[in-house]
């Protein structure tokens, strides 16, 4: 990690933009396409300025054709390019799912390792912007479920940049989810002269603690850190760990922490049922059952379509209060 003093403050979207720019400079095979990514610079400003820098051969606006552009990306990846395909909202990944799940994820294996599919599906996730049920979902668990796909979901601009660079260099299809509630949040990112990548499958300990492990993803990391401060005032020291990629998953770091704390709560914004939290909780349960002081808990979005009205939407998203409440329960005898 670089020292924060030399770091600039960038938003998530600026950090990802910089990663894409550096990788496109570095490797002429990297191309970018999606709806309104070129001339307009993307709905989240993530691709701003890339058309000017790299030209219309490498940065392309597409029609509204999610299945088409996903499939085209797979074909281009199989034949020598390294495409970044933007799918504006993660809710639209299902429109492209055949191409992602049945083509991108399986081609390398089915061909006996003949042709890899080095590409990135760049998308957004998460509720909180009053966009209702079709523009607010966190579908990471769907894709982490599929062998052959990698899934990255950064919780800070710093991690977003490093993970995006790795995603582009990876030989496999990567689903890269940007939490839209945080996309204009700033955080320290080292100067471009200080190049870094973040390997997949390497969790980051965001806060150290002895009493409780909070495993959190994307914007839930912020909620977990806030909860940890509140719990600290009550004498409970939480360790907050961000896996940063769900596939591959850094099992070792997660298990090491729980071995130490003997208590574990997993927070992920996907629907709780069959979610990432269930997978991680099972991992901990299978490996550390006899070390645990309390049952492993998980917290996800409520198992309802994300409602529009702010009074309802806010109740469906996991937050600091719920984390604190569950944590307290874990210390009751």
């Amino acid at each position: 990690m670089s020292s924060p003093t030399e770091a600039r403050q960038l938003t998530f979207s600026q950090a990802v933009n910089e990663a894409i720019r550096e990788e496109m400079d570095r490797d002429h095979r990297v191309v970018l396409f999606g709806e309104d990514v070129a001339a307009a610079g993307g709905v989240w400003k993530v691709t701003e300025g890339l058309l000017d820098r790299f030209g219309a051969e490498r940065v392309l606006d597409t029609p509204i054709s999610e299945a088409g552009i996903a499939g085209l990306g797979v074909g281009a990846a199989m034949t020598g390019l390294r495409p970044i395909v933007e799918i504006m909202f993660g809710d639209f990944l299902p429109l492209a799912s055949d191409q992602i799940v049945n083509q991108a994820a399986k081609t390398y294996y089915m061909s006996g390792g003949m042709t890899s599919v080095p590409m990135v599906f760049l998308t957004s996730m998460g509720a909180g912007r009053r966009l209702a049920a079709q523009h607010s979902q966190s579908l990471q668990a769907w894709f982490a479920h599929i062998p052959g796909l990698k899934v990255a979901l950064p919780s800070s601009p710093h991690d977003a940049k490093g993970l995006m660079k790795t995603a582009i260099r990876d030989e496999n299809p990567v689903i890269f989810l940007q939490d839209k509630v945080d996309i204009y949040q700033k955080g320290p990112v080292p100067d471009p002269s200080h190049e870094y990548t973040i390997p997949f499958g390497r969790a980051d300990v965001k806060r150290e603690g002895e009493d409780l492990t909070l495993i959190a993803t994307s914007s839930m990391v912020r909620q977990a850190l806030d909860a940890a401060s509140e719990l600290a005032a009550e004498g409970i020291e939480s360790e907050v760990i961000d896996p940063r990629t769900l596939a591959p998953l850094d099992e070792e770091t997660l298990l090491d922490s729980v071995r130490k704390t003997a208590r574990c709560l997993v927070i992920d914004e996907g629907y709780q049922r069959y979610g990432a939290g269930a997978e991680i909780a099972a991992l901990v349960g299978e490996n550390l059952f006899y070390d645990l002081e309390a049952p492993v808990r998980r917290l996800g979005a409520m198992d309802v379509p994300v409602p529009f009205s702010p009074t309802l939407e806010d109740l469906t998203i996991p937050g600091k209060e719920q984390i604190v409440e569950i944590a307290r329960q874990m210390f009751e005898d």
Partner: protein, 327 residues
């Protein structure tokens, strides 16, 4: 042959309906600026003649499907502006109890099967509604509204082909406003006359000036009649223009101010019909003014209704996930 009418009464209704859409949308934008309307807001301003001209041929029993730009379709089909505004405010008195918001308003009582957050999300729904009508031999018609942007998604092809080969009572209405969000149509497709695509499915295609409600009315009448007679779908393209941004707050860097003011100055559909009615001696300037004023009152009432309505309570959260409780 040709389509009869519209009668004077219908003309005046259409005139009022277009104002109702215009003033509803202006108010929705204002309330969005005030922070009362949250989330994404896509207005129908400029496109009023399409929804109104088409729905003039439909009864409450007929179906429509809509898009992310759905308020105009709702109003054209006869939805209540009070419950619409309440939905935009996220209140429990809204059409969807505040659970849907702008992009998901529906009113099944008047055959409005829902706005849609997924571009091209309506093709399957409208085609399926056409199948239901055909199976029941009910004589109902389904109209699928969609934008030029939706043409490039698979459901356009898959469902129009199905509607055509099964001769379903569906009218596919493309509102070609020449932009998909921020991208001009000609940059993403070589076929900018969507009506010409009808030949790929073996159904009639028609193209009309979507800023002229009388042209829309005529063409829609033929397409709806054809569907009711059991002769199958029509692909009707209405060339139109949205006067405001893609969504409220859109800086519109992808088009010029001149282009916008050309369209809004010379092709305003409400002004167009108003002038026509005055020339024909059906409407005086005073009467036009009074129609507008009474619609304005109605919209003000809708805002009051929305503002005074409560938010949904937490008990609404888990309701409506399944239509019957699962043990």
């Amino acid at each position: 042959m040709g389509i009869k009418g519209p009668t004077t009464e219908q003309l005046l209704d259409m005139y009022a309906a277009m104002w109702r859409i215009r003033l509803f949308e202006e108010q929705a934008e204002y309330q969005s600026g005030q922070g009362k309307v949250l989330g994404a807001l896509h207005t129908y301003i400029g496109q009023e003649a399409v929804g109104v001209g088409i729905c003039a041929h439909l009864t409450d029993a007929d179906y429509i499907t809509s898009t992310h730009r759905g308020h105009g379709h709702c109003i054209s089909k006869g939805a209540d502006v009070r419950r619409m505004m309440a939905e935009l405010f996220g209140r429990v008195t809204g059409y969807c109890k505040g659970k849907g918001g702008s992009m998901h308003i529906a009113d099944f009582a008047v055959g409005m099967l829902g706005a849609n957050g997924i571009v091209a999300g309506g093709f399957g729904l409208a085609t399926g509604a056409g199948l239901a009508a055909q199976v029941r031999e009910s004589g109902q018609v389904a109209v699928c509204f969609f934008g030029d942007g939706a043409v490039n998604r698979g459901p356009f092809h898959e469902n129009i082909n199905l509607g055509a080969v099964w001769r379903l009572p569906v009218v596919y209405v493309c509102e070609n406003n020449q932009y998909a969000q921020w991208t001009p149509q000609e940059e993403i497709t070589l076929v900018t006359d969507v009506a010409s695509m009808s030949s790929a499915y073996g159904i009639p295609g028609a193209q009309v000036d979507g800023m002229d409600v009388l042209s829309v009315y005529q063409a829609a009448g033929e397409a709806v009649d054809r569907a009711r007679r059991g002769e199958g779908p029509t692909l009707l393209e209405c060339k139109t223009y949205r006067f405001h941004g893609h969504n409220f707050g859109d800086p519109q860097q992808y088009r010029t101010k001149e282009e916008i003011s050309d369209w809004s100055g010379q092709h305003d559909p409400i002004q167009g019909l108003g002038d026509h009615l005055q020339r024909e001696g059906v409407l005086t300037a005073e009467e036009a003014e009074s129609i507008r004023n009474s619609v304005q009152e109605e919209i003000a009432g809708a805002v009051r209704f929305a503002d005074e309505s409560p938010y949904p309570g937490p008990e609404e959260l888990t309701r409506d996930v399944f239509s019957t409780p699962v043990a």
